[in-house]
Amino acid sequence: MVAAGAETPAAASPRRPRPRRVAAALWSLPPIAALALVFLYPLALVVWQSVSPEDGGHSTAPYTAVFAEASFREALTNTVLLAAGATAGALLLGLALSLVIAFVPFPGGRALSRFIDLFLAFPSFLITLALLFLYGSAGLANGLWTDVTGAAHGPLDFLHTPWGVLLAEVTYFTPFVMRPLLAAFSQVETGQLEAAASLGARPWRIVRTVILPEALPSLAAGGALVLVLCLNEFGIVLFTGAKDVVTLPMLVYTKALLDGDYTGACVVAVVNITLSVTLYALYRTVMSRTGGGPAFRTGGAHRAGA
């Protein structure tokens, strides 16, 4: 016989107002402290250093000095234009490819999307390295040209220009757009498409009126993320090795390590942080408005142990 009474009756306990919340907040302190030590505190020092000119004291003089440099203004323009261009390119390419994978399926499509996912695990500079072999002065494309025409040099010589950086960034960041898009597309019901088609809508119209509205939040979120990542991109620019393609992260690197101008580097860093953190905050807002993005909703929160 199973008997009743499983726990010795404790003394009637006094009511404690939400003690668990407080304990939880305490438990979150150690990781926050660690993060503060190795990330927040150094970041604060960067800001501090940026207002501490070499000759002592504290002023905004370093900012005035850096803003006056032509190289800084050029880097800022380059960074913003490249990021905007790469984001637009990645959005267009990612949208087109995702539409085909999701709605004009073909054998091997899923394997292909997994292969493209692989790009997320590889570093960005590999793309620039590959482009050197593809479109470099002695690469595949120019080799094809010289073999066919007999000319001494191929026609393609854009790798060390901003266009080379743009191509590499579009290639590398397109998968970042495709991932959330494919997740959003998988939420579009086939029934809706069939209903629209049975009502006589042509494919492009279905894309415009049924699919795109559903995918717009993911598209916005993906675009914002790529924009931030492009603003911060360093490896691609470094590997391109072009003197005339300088971006903000690149400027931080050259100022700090090559020129030894830490205060100047910190000024550029603060500008770069301001740009990308503002955008990232915007991205997070978009994400939370759309309920954490469709990828989070697909998990099925209430699948119990079946």
Binding site: W27, F234, P249, N272
Partner: protein, 265 residues
Amino acid sequence: MLVPSKSARRAVHLLFLVLVVPVFALPLLVIVAASFATDWSGVLPSGATLAHYRDIAHGEALDALLTSLATALAASLGALTAGTWAALAAEKCGRRTRRIIDALFLLPVAVPSVVVGLSLLVAFSRPPLLLNGTPQIVILAHTVLVTAFAYQSVTAALSRLDPAYEQSAAGLGARPAYVLWRVKLPLLLPSLTAAAGLCFALSMGELSATMMIYPPDWLPLPVQIFAATDRGSLFTGAALAVALMAATLLVLLGVSRIRTKASYR
């Protein structure tokens, strides 16, 4: 289903291949091809050789691979611990506290990696914490950079976990620590290994912050690849890149095997 006519479908697929092959497939292929070539001045590389691999099989390159593996292992373990801890604690907090923790732990994604490197350089170049010039500063930078991804993965996994498991366990008399150890962590295991794999891969390929802070005796693989291509040895660079990709892939594959074994649903 969207394009009913067969010929139109074929045209779409053709266009798709024209876009995908040069943009995604070729880059990885040419790196692999170049790593086996002595020379490349025509359409195809010429002179198959294993010389580049022989070169990197000893000396600096091997050191670089081992350095990268050690860094990635340490960084992903550290990031996983910190990220999981923070995610578990944040889940129990009120909504406002949780939002603050979210913002703090995702901030490293938004801050440029180069700046993270610079900030460590600025902060830890003087006593009491003199880390500049040590391998630890590289590991620290990698840990900071990948913690955000660990935190994000674990948070997403926690939000998918049915609260009924935790509640049933508590109802049966299990204290929170026991619930965590016997129920939550086992159920999260697949997501934790996935997060670890992601962190490992990201750390293996980290270049931006590393370029700012690496000491001469701790050169990870990406730095070596840059050094090789910068001095014009593109083919050696390609071979090193293949080694990097292979090591990353092997770890990801291993992790996904553990994952399928560990997934119960």
